[in-house]
C-alpha cells in the first residue's frame, strides 16, 4: 500500500498531538512475526476499528496497547507517554465478560476504581450513573449468573468506563452474542460512546460492525501482521441501524472485504497447518 492512502484519514492535528501513537511496533514469538512495523496515530475522541483475517495480530496489537503484552520492537504511546504495563488509564472490554461471579453488578463495575485505590463516594456515584447509562438501572444488586449475555457485556463495558480511561479498548466484545442482540449492542455502544466520545479501539471480525461504529477502520493483513490500509468512514453520526442498507455503507464494507478476502481464503484453506 502506498503511503498516501495509508494516511488519508489523518488530519494534520492528529499527527501533531495524537491520543495514541504506535511507532514501528513489532512483536515476534520466537521466529513468528506477529506484528511488524505498525505505524499509526489515533486522534482524541476517535473511534477506530481494527479488522483483518485470523492471525493478523489485531488482538495482539490491542493487548500491547493494554499493556498485557510487551512489544518486541518499537513502542506505543498514549498522550506522548510510552506504555510499559497495564493500568487504570485504559479500560479493557473483554471478549468473554470476565465478571467476578461472587460480586454483584455494581461491585463488578467497581473493580477498576478499587484497584486504583479510588473506591470513594465520588467514584461510586459515577459508577451508578454509568450503570444507568449502559441500561442496567435496577440491576445493580444482581449477580452475573442472573443476567443475559447482552447484559453481562453491558457490565463489562461499564467496568471499563468506571476508571474513566484515557482510551477504551474492546476485544470482539459482541462476538459471543446472537446476531440480533449484537445489532442492538452496536447501537447501544454508539449511544454510550456519544456521551463522552472516549478514544476507542475496537477489534472485530465483523466488517459491517467495524464500518457501522467507526471513524476509521484499520485493515490488518497477516504474515506478518501489518496495517494494509486505513479506511476513513465518512458516514454521518448519529447512525441509525438502517444506515447499514445505504449504498455508501455497502460500498465501504465491499471495499474492506476486497482487501482481506484473499488473506481470509488462504487462512481458511490452511487452517489445519
Amino acid at each position: 500500500m502506498d503511503q498516501g492512502l495509508k494516511e488519508r484519514g489523518l488530519s494534520d492535528q492528529t499527527l501533531m498531538s495524537p491520543k495514541l501513537q504506535s511507532l514501528a511496533l513489532g512483536k515476534t514469538y520466537g521466529t513468528l512475526d506477529v506484528l511488524r512495523g505498525i505505524d499509526a496515530a489515533v486522534a482524541d475522541g476517535e473511534f477506530i476499528s481494527i479488522v483483518g483475517p485470523s492471525g493478523c495480530g489485531k488482538t495482539t496489537f490491542l493487548r500491547i496497547v493494554a499493556g498485557l503484552e510487551t512489544a518486541s520492537s518499537g513502542s506505543v504511546q498514549i498522550d506522548g507517554q510510552v506504555i510499559t504495563g497495564p493500568g487504570t488509564d485504559r479500560g479493557f472490554v473483554f471478549q468473554t465478560d470476565s465478571l467476578l461471579p461472587w460480586r454483584t453488578v455494581f461491585d463488578n463495575a467497581m473493580v477498576g476504581p478499587e484497584i486504583a485505590g479510588r473506591a470513594n463516594d465520588a467514584t461510586k456515584a459515577k459508577t451508578r450513573d454509568l450503570l444507568k447509562l449502559v441500561g442496567l438501572q435496577g440491576f445493580e444488586n444482581y449477580f452475573p449468573r442472573q443476567l443475559s449475555g447482552g447484559m453481562r457485556q453491558r457490565v463489562n463495558l461499564a467496568r471499563a468506563l468506571a476508571v474513566d480511561p484515557r482510551i477504551l479498548l474492546m476485544d470482539e466484545p459482541f462476538s459471543a452474542l446472537d446476531a440480533q442482540t449484537r445489532e442492538i449492542m452496536q447501537t447501544e455502544l454508539l449511544r454510550i460512546w456519544e456521551q463522552g466520545r472516549k478514544t476507542a479501539l475496537f477489534v472485530t471480525h465483523q466488517i459491517d460492525e467495524a464500518v457501522y461504529l467507526s471513524d476509521r477502520v484499520f485493515v490488518f493483513a497477516r504474515r506478518p501482521g501489518r496495517i494494509q490500509e486505513i479506511v476513513p468512514i465518512d458516514l454521518p453520526r448519529p447512525r441509525p441501524l438502517s444506515i447499514k442498507r445505504t449504498p455508501a455503507f455497502v460500498a465501504l464494507v465491499d471495499h474492506i472485504w476486497g482487501l482481506i478476502e484473499e488473506d481470509v481464503r488462504s487462512s481458511v484453506l490452511n487452517a489445519e497447518t
Partner: protein, 271 residues
C-alpha cells in the same frame, strides 16, 4: 423464573396423573423412610431377637438418652468430646488452609509438600492414636492430635485445588487494570477458592468426629467414645446406642449448619 415455569407446568391440564402424584409425596419421602425403618427396627428387636444384649430397640435407646441426659452424664461426655473436637478442628483448619496456600503459592513448595500430604491423607493415620496416647497421655490432647491428623489433609488439599483452579480470564481482567499480585490473590484467587475450602472443611467434620471417638476408644476418662466402650464392656446396649445416636445427630447437625453457612457465604455457586 424457573419457579414460575414449574408452577405453570404443575397446573397444565395435559399433565399425566402419576407425575402429579409423586411431587406431593416427595417432601415426606425422607420422613416416611426413617419412620418405617425405626418401626422395623423396633419390631425386629422386640419380636425377633428379643434380647437386650444383642440389640436395643429405638424406644429403649430413647429412654436411655433421656436417662443419661437427666443424670447429667450425657452432658459430661458430650462436653468433653465437643471440646476435643472443636480444639482439634479449629487448629487443623487453620494449619490446613495455611498448608494449602503454601502449596498453591509456589511450584517448588508444592513439589516438596505434595508427597507428604497425599501420602498422609491416604494413610489411615487413626492407627497412630495409641501412639499419641503414649506421648500425651489419656487427656484431651491425644484426641486433639488424632482430630488434627484426620482433618488437616482434606482441608489442605481442597484449599490448594481451589487456589490453583482460579480462572485465567479473571486474573487477566484484574491484570488489565494493573492489579498487584496481592490484589489478584485477595480479589480473585481467594474468593474463587472459598467453595473448595468449604468442601474441605465439610469433609473434615465427619473425619474429626471419627477421630474423637476412636481416640477415646483407645483410652480416655470421659467422652462419647468412652461412654460407648464402657457400655459395650457392660453389655449395656441401650447406652451404647445412645452414644452412637448422639454422635450421629451431632454429625448431621454440624453438616447442616455448614450447608447453611455455604449458602450464605457462596451464594454464587447455587442457582
Amino acid at each position: 423464573m424457573s419457579g414460575q415455569a414449574s408452577a405453570r407446568l404443575s397446573v397444565a391440564p395435559s399433565q399425566p396423573a402419576p407425575a402429579r402424584a409423586w411431587p406431593t409425596l416427595r417432601p415426606y419421602a425422607g420422613l416416611l423412610s426413617v419412620s418405617a425403618g425405626l418401626l422395623l427396627w423396633e419390631a425386629l428387636s422386640r419380636l425377633l431377637i428379643n434380647n437386650p444384649l444383642f440389640l436395643a430397640a429405638p424406644s429403649q435407646i430413647a429412654v436411655a438418652i433421656a436417662q443419661l441426659a437427666w443424670s447429667g452424664e450425657l452432658w459430661k461426655h458430650l462436653f468433653v468430646s465437643a471440646r476435643e473436637f472443636v480444639i482439634g478442628y479449629v487448629i487443623a483448619c487453620v494449619l490446613g488452609i495455611a498448608l494449602g496456600m503454601a502449596m498453591a503459592s509456589s511450584e517448588t513448595r508444592k513439589a516438596a509438600l505434595q508427597p507428604w500430604v497425599s501420602g498422609l491423607y491416604a494413610t489411615p493415620t487413626i492407627a497412630l492414636a495409641p501412639l499419641f496416647i503414649l506421648w500425651t497421655g489419656i487427656g484431651i490432647w491425644s484426641k486433639v492430635l488424632v482430630v488434627i491428623t484426620l482433618v488437616i489433609f482434606p482441608v489442605a488439599i481442597n484449599t490448594e485445588a481451589g487456589l490453583r483452579t482460579t480462572s485465567e480470564r479473571l486474573v487477566e481482567m484484574l491484570r488489565s487494570f494493573g492489579a498487584t499480585p496481592r490484589q489478584i490473590f485477595l480479589k480473585v484467587s481467594l474468593p474463587s477458592a472459598i467453595p473448595f475450602m468449604l468442601a474441605g472443611l465439610k469433609l473434615g467434620i465427619g473425619r474429626g468426629l471419627i477421630g474423637v471417638v476412636v481416640g477415646e476408644l483407645f483410652g480416655s476418662r470421659a467422652g462419647l467414645g468412652q461412654l460407648i466402650t464402657q457400655s459395650a464392656e457392660a453389655f449395656n446396649m441401650p447406652d451404647l446406642f445412645a452414644g452412637v445416636v448422639v454422635l450421629a445427630v451431632a454429625g448431621i447437625a454440624l453438616t447442616a449448619c455448614f450447608s447453611w453457612l455455604e449458602k450464605r457465604l457462596v451464594p454464587w455457586t447455587k442457582d
